[in-house]
């Protein structure tokens, strides 16, 4: 039920390998991350990425309701990815769609490998992602924003999680597809990693990729994630500029210690 202009069959990539919005094939859309913008949440982040506007908030570790869901040996991680009704061209119903339910699940599973859940048994860590405006790649931005909000909330993390999408459009492997590239392209592959060790925590793919294209796409995605990771760290640093060095060092030390204990 989306109103796509059926006549717009212009090419998305020109002869100089420049995309319709002026980007190069391996170029990200502009990204801005703000941290700690909500007062009720334990941690929060607002991510602008192209036309995407994604708000993430974390509540927890906190007492869990209903109690019978509590896990004896670790925190329960819960995640809700939702889109505002006005975030897309055609108004979305406020009731959660099947898409939102699936994405909530895969986003949760992409964040959980990063969280030291066993430090907070019987609690919950609740992650809420609200897409205020959507233009392709919102699940990835949701992951990036959410892991930044987790760090802002002080939840102990093995690493930040960072995500971006790659895809194939008109035969080219592209970084960071926007909505029109996603819809018209031949393949779309969102991916999330723990940047320190390049472990993959989200991997989805749809479309058609040869073995060789897949590997190129994977490499490009990692590069994109690394760039976004720098912005994540910068945003956290900006908020905690005074205590910058201590916090990050502590986080690293702590993570390594925990990692060794695992």
């Amino acid at each position: 039920m989306t109103r796509i202009n059926q006549n717009s069959y212009e090419r998305l990539i020109d002869e100089n390998e420049i995309r319709i919005d002026g980007r190069k094939l391996d170029e990200l859309r502009p990204i801005n991350i703000e941290v700690g913008i909500l007062t009720n949440a334990y941690g929060s982040a607002l991510l602008h990425h192209g036309k995407n506007k994604i708000l993430a908030a974390v509540f927890g570790p906190r007492e869990l309701h209903p109690r019978h869901l509590a896990l004896p040996d670790r925190a329960l991680v819960r995640c809700e990815y939702r889109m505002t009704t006005f975030s897309v061209e055609e108004r979305k119903s406020p009731a959660p769609s099947r898409r939102e339910i699936e994405l909530s699940k895969v986003i949760r599973e992409s964040l959980e490998p990063a969280i030291f859940t066993h430090l907070y048994p019987r609690t919950s860590v609740d992650v809420f992602i609200e897409v205020l405006q959507a233009d392709g790649g919102t699940r990835c931005d949701g992951i990036t924003a959410a892991s930044t909000a987790l760090a802002d909330a002080g939840v102990p993390l093995r690493d930040l999680v960072v995500a971006c999408a790659v895809g194939k459009v008109e035969g080219h492997i592209l970084l960071d597809l926007d909505d029109i590239e996603d819809k018209k392209g031949e393949a779309d592959m969102p991916i999330a990693i723990l940047p320190r060790n390049k472990e993959v925590t989200l991997l989805q793919m749809d479309g058609q990729l040869s073995r060789e294209e897949f590997q190129r796409a994977l490499d490009l995605a990692i590069k994109g994630c690394e760039q976004i990771h720098e912005m994540q760290k910068e945003a956290l640093r900006k908020k905690y500029s005074e205590i910058q060095e201590e916090v990050l060092e502590e986080l690293n030390e702590f993570s390594e210690k925990e990692e060794n204990q695992d």
Partner: protein, 264 residues
């Protein structure tokens, strides 16, 4: 690590009550001060109109979408306006996922009636084919951070978003509707502004924060239109109001509504 959120001790509550008796408030405001209001419009480009409103630490985002649909059969020449408020759990530990509860529905319906009964929007101008196709205007309000007085923050958000809304012009030929590229603003006839009072120990104070709401016995929202007429009232909470306090609140609300109207 675990923060203690929203756990308000009886001592703190008693403190608020005793301050109010002296005409004072915990955040230094006088009883008839609003918190600082910040309004940003056009924040969601994909919406036909949008506004982010901050009222102290309370933050709401209102977005407008317009679709073509059928009119109600008893008003075949009028556009349809639908107001919906989402209390998303991102905004507060007090909110839960799921369809709007009674508190969200109450605010949405008061705003809805406010728009409809004041004829704030010229609904006839948004009729495309009488009895068949009209614009359906969705006003969706998301609470992003809840620090009290969602009534006023939401109604300001809705109004500010509607004032910046632009929808496509249409052309009708042989019963087919063509959407043109040219945009038209909504025709807004009046700007209803609400002022919400909380009653604490027989005193009324305006724009209550979350902690004040938790102490309040009752709530009264009073809305005036641009001409200074009353256009909506809604009492809430398990307490009551004297006739005198209502009349006094009406007068204060009228003054406050004019101050706020200037800012939108």
């Amino acid at each position: 690590m675990m923060k203690t959120h929203q756990i308000i001790s009886e001592i703190e509550r008693e403190h608020i009550r005793s301050l109010v008796k002296k005409g004072l408030r915990i955040d230094g405001r006088s009883l008839d001060d609003f918190r600082e209001i910040q309004i940003k419009t056009g924040v969601v480009e994909k919406a036909e109109g949008s506004a982010e409103v901050q009222l102290g630490n309370t933050k709401v985002l209102a977005g407008i979408k317009a679709e073509i649909g059928p009119p109600f059969s008893d008003t075949p020449n009028n556009a349809v306006v639908t107001v919906n408020i989402e209390f998303i759990p991102l905004a507060s530990p007090l909110f839960e996922s799921g369809p709007p509860g009674e508190a969200a529905i109450e605010i949405a319906r008061v705003i809805d009636r406010g728009i409809r009964e004041t004829k704030a929007i010229d609904l006839k101008s948004l009729c495309i084919i009488p009895g068949d196709k009209v614009w359906v205007i969705f006003v969706d309000i998301y609470i992003l951070d809840h620090d009290g007085n969602l009534f006023d923050a939401s109604s300001i958000g809705a109004l500010a978003a509607l004032l910046t809304t632009k929808i496509k012009k249409t052309n009708v030929q042989n019963g087919e509707v063509e959407l043109l590229d040219e945009l038209q603003p909504l025709s807004i006839a009046t700007k209803p502004i609400s002022t919400t009072f909380a009653k604490i120990r027989d005193e009324l104070l305006i724009d209550p924060s979350l902690i004040e709401e938790s102490v309040a016995d009752a709530r009264l929202t009073i809305t005036h239109d641009s001409d200074g007429n009353l256009c909506a009232m809604q009492k809430g909470g398990k307490g009551s109001f004297t006739l005198e306090s209502i009349l006094k609140a009406v007068d204060i609300a009228r003054m406050k509504s004019e101050e706020i109207r200037e800012k939108i």
